[in-house]
C-alpha cells in the first residue's frame, strides 16, 4: 500500500482525495471549507479529520496540491490585434489555468492603466507583434506599464526584436522573457509561456495567497486547478504507452459562477472544400465562460438562452420561472433536494449552460458561394467527430438526468453552423476527481488513467437532438 494525498484548495471548499497507487484505487474523499484568510491549514486539517472519520486513520507518503483559492490565478493580457496576438495571449493564459480578468488590444491608454492598477492582477502577460514585426505597440505598452510601477510580475512574450528593449524599459520590475506566443503569422507557440506562468504561480502566487504554510506539507507540484484538470483530460484522451486513452474528448464543468470547457482534439477541417480561417487553435484548449454559471451567473444563462427556452425546457410558466430565478439569486446555496420545480429549473439552466458554453468553445462553419461552387469556411475547432464528453459540476452530478443535460453539448441541425460533437458517450465525474487525477498524473500517469477509466461513470450514448 502506498498512499498519496491530493489536495484541491478551491475558492469555497478544500477537497481531499486519498489514493492508494499500488492498489490503483481511491481510498476516500472529503471536503471542508477553505480557510485562506486565516490559516489555510485549518481547513485542510478539518478535511483530514473528516477523511479519517470516513476511512479510519491513515498515513501518506506523498502529497500534491492544486489551488483556485483566493480568486485563482488572476491574469491580464495585452496584445496588438485582438484576433491575432490578443487571442494568442488569451489562449496561453487560459491553458495555463488562469482566470483572465481583462484582455487589452493595441496601445494601453491611461484609462486602461487605471483599470489594471485597480484590478491588481497576479500576472500580466505582455505580447504583440510577430517576430520581426510590429514593435511600436509592445514598447509603448511596456513604457505604460513601467510608468505605473507595477507590483505584479510581467511575462514578456511578444516580438523578439523588442524583447530586450522591453526588459530595459521595465527594469526594476519583476519580469520574465519568453518566446513569442505568435512568432509567425498564424503560428502559435504558447507552451513556453504557459510553463513560465505555472512557475511564477508556484514561486510567488502561493506565498501571496496564504498557501505557503500548507506548502511545507507538499512533496512537489502545485498548480492552478484548471491546469490540473486540463492535464487529466489530456491523459484521459491520449493515454500512456501502457494504457490506451479514450480518444478525442470534450469536457464541461458547469460551476456556480463560471462554466469551463476543455477540448482535446485537432479540430481541423474535415473536407477538402473547407477553407480554415483565423488562428489555428491549440490541441488542448480551455475556455471559461464568466457569464455562464448556475447561481452567481444565472442571469447570463437566461440572457444567452432566452426566457422562452428556459420555460420550454423546464415546463414552468414564465412567471413562475422568473420568481424561482429571483429566489436562486437571493439564496445562492439553494439546491433542489427533491423540489420538483427547482429540479426542472436547474435542468433547464444546466442544459442551456452546457449548450452555450460548448457552442462558444467550438468552431463554426459557414457556406460561401464561389465561382468554383459551394465552399465552406471554418473558424475555430471542428469538434463534430469527437465521440466522448466528460461532464462535472454540481448540477450534473446531483441529478438523474445527466445524459439529457449533456446531450445539449451536441450538434443541432437548427444550428448547423456550430461544430459540436454529433454523437458521444457521456461520462460523469461524480466524485470530483478530475483535478486530483491531473495532479497524480505528473508522477503516476498509468495509475491516474486507470483510476479515471474506472471511476468516471458511463452515462449513456447521446445523439444529436432536434432542438
Amino acid at each position: 500500500m502506498k498512499n498519496i494525498l491530493l489536495i484541491d484548495f478551491g475558492s469555497t471548499y478544500t477537497k481531499l482525495t486519498l489514493v492508494d497507487v499500488d492498489a490503483e484505487e481511491i481510498r476516500g474523499t472529503a471536503q471542508a471549507f477553505t480557510t485562506v484568510e486565516s490559516d489555510v491549514n485549518e481547513g485542510l486539517n478539518a478535511g483530514l479529520k473528516l477523511l479519517e472519520q470516513k476511512i479510519g486513520s491513515f498515513t501518506y507518503e506523498e502529497c500534491y496540491a492544486c489551488s483556485s483559492a483566493a480568486g485563482g490565478l488572476r491574469m491580464i493580457t495585452s496584445g496588438l490585434v485582438p484576433e491575432l496576438t490578443g487571442e494568442a495571449a488569451k489562449l496561453a493564459s487560459l491553458g495555463a489555468g488562469a482566470k483572465v480578468i481583462a484582455i487589452y488590444a493595441f496601445q494601453l491608454t491611461e484609462d486602461d492603466l487605471e483599470e489594471i492598477a485597480e484590478a491588481k492582477p497576479d500576472i500580466f502577460l505582455l505580447v504583440g507583434g510577430t517576430d520581426g514585426g510590429n514593435t511600436e505597440c509592445i514598447l509603448h505598452n511596456a513604457r505604460a506599464l513601467a510608468s505605473m510601477k507595477p507590483a505584479f510580475p510581467i511575462v514578456i512574450a511578444g516580438n523578439r526584436t523588442a524583447a530586450r528593449q522591453c526588459e530595459r524599459i521595465l527594469e526594476g520590475c519583476e519580469i520574465y522573457v519568453c518566446p513569442n506566443v505568435m512568432p509567425k503569422f498564424g503560428a502559435l507557440n504558447i507552451e513556453p509561456t504557459q510553463k513560465k506562468i505555472r512557475e511564477i504561480f508556484l514561486e510567488r502566487i502561493i506565498l501571496a495567497k496564504g498557501l505557503s504554510r500548507a506548502a511545507e506539507l507538499l512533496s512537489d507540484i502545485m498548480m492552478p486547478t484548471p491546469a490540473a484538470v486540463l492535464q487529466a483530460m489530456e491523459l484521459l484522451s491520449k493515454g500512456t504507452a501502457e494504457e490506451s486513452g479514450i480518444g478525442d474528448l470534450v469536457a464541461v464543468d458547469v460551476g456556480g459562477a463560471t462554466t469551463d470547457v476543455y477540448s482535446i482534439a485537432d479540430g481541423m477541417p474535415e473536407q477538402m472544400n473547407t477553407v480554415f480561417k483565423g488562428l489555428p487553435e491549440p490541441y488542448s484548449k480551455r475556455t471559461v465562460e464568466g457569464d455562464i454559471g448556475m447561481r452567481y451567473s444565472i442571469q447570463g444563462i437566461i440572457d444567452a438562452a432566452g426566457k422562452e427556452k428556459i420555460c420550454e425546457l423546464s415546463g414552468l410558466s414564465e412567471e413562475r420561472m422568473c420568481a424561482l430565478v429571483e429566489e436562486l439569486k437571493a439564496n445562492k446555496e439553494t439546491v433542489p433536494q427533491g423540489d420538483d420545480e427547482l429540479e426542472a429549473l436547474d435542468f433547464a439552466l444546466a442544459s442551456s449552460a452546457v449548450k452555450e458554453a460548448v457552442a462558444r468553445h467550438a468552431g463554426t462553419i459557414s457556406e460561401a458561394y464561389t465561382m468554383m461552387g459551394l465552399t465552406y469556411v471554418q473558424e475555430g475547432k471542428n469538434l463534430t467527430r469527437v465521440k466522448q464528453i466528460v461532464v462535472t459540476g454540481g448540477s450534473l452530478i446531483h441529478t438523474k438526468r445527466t445524459e439529457a443535460i449533456a446531450s445539449h453539448a451536441l450538434f443541432s441541425p437548427s444550428e448547423a453552423s456550430s461544430l459540436r460533437p454529433r454523437e458521444a458517450n457521456v461520462w460523469v465525474d461524480r466524485t470530483y476527481i478530475l483535478a486530483a487525477m491531473g495532479l497524480l498524473s505528473s508522477h503516476y500517469p498509468d495509475v491516474a488513467l486507470r483510476i479515471m477509466k474506472k471511476e468516471l461513470e458511463y452515462h449513456g450514448h447521446s445523439q444529436q437532438t432536434l432542438n
Partner: protein, 144 residues
Amino acid sequence: METRNKKVLVIGVIGADVHAVGNKILYHAFTQAGFEVVNLGVMVSQEEYIAAAIESSADAIVVSSLYGQGELDCRGMREKCDEAGLKGIPLVVGGNIVIGKQRFEEVEERFKAMGFDRAFPPGTTPETTIQALRELLGMDGTNE
C-alpha cells in the same frame, strides 16, 4: 541580435475566390526573390490583410483576384488601411481583376483611384510584380 533585413509582404486571394494555385506560385516566387512572405491563402477579407500587416509590420500588401469580382472586393481597402494606422502602405493588386474585356489602362486608373499603387493585368509574370515591388519599396539594387 538578429535584425530584419528582408522586406515583408502580406499576400492572399481576396473575397470569395478559391484560386489557390497562383497564390502558391507567387508565394514561392516572392520568397525566392528575397522577401519575407506572410501568405494568407484564399478567401481573404480586407480585415485579414490589414490585421496580418499590422502584426508583421508589413512593407506592402499584394492582393490577388482571379474570379472577376476584384473591383468590388477591393473597394474601401485603402480607407481601412488608413483607419488601422497603415497609412501609406503600398497596395498592389493583380490577376483577373475585372469582368469581361476592358481596356487595362482604364482598369488600372480605377484601381489607382481606389488607392492602389499598382495594378497588373492577367498574364503578368511574377518577375514583373517583383520588379514593381522593388521600385515601390525603394530596393532597386540596393538591397540585394
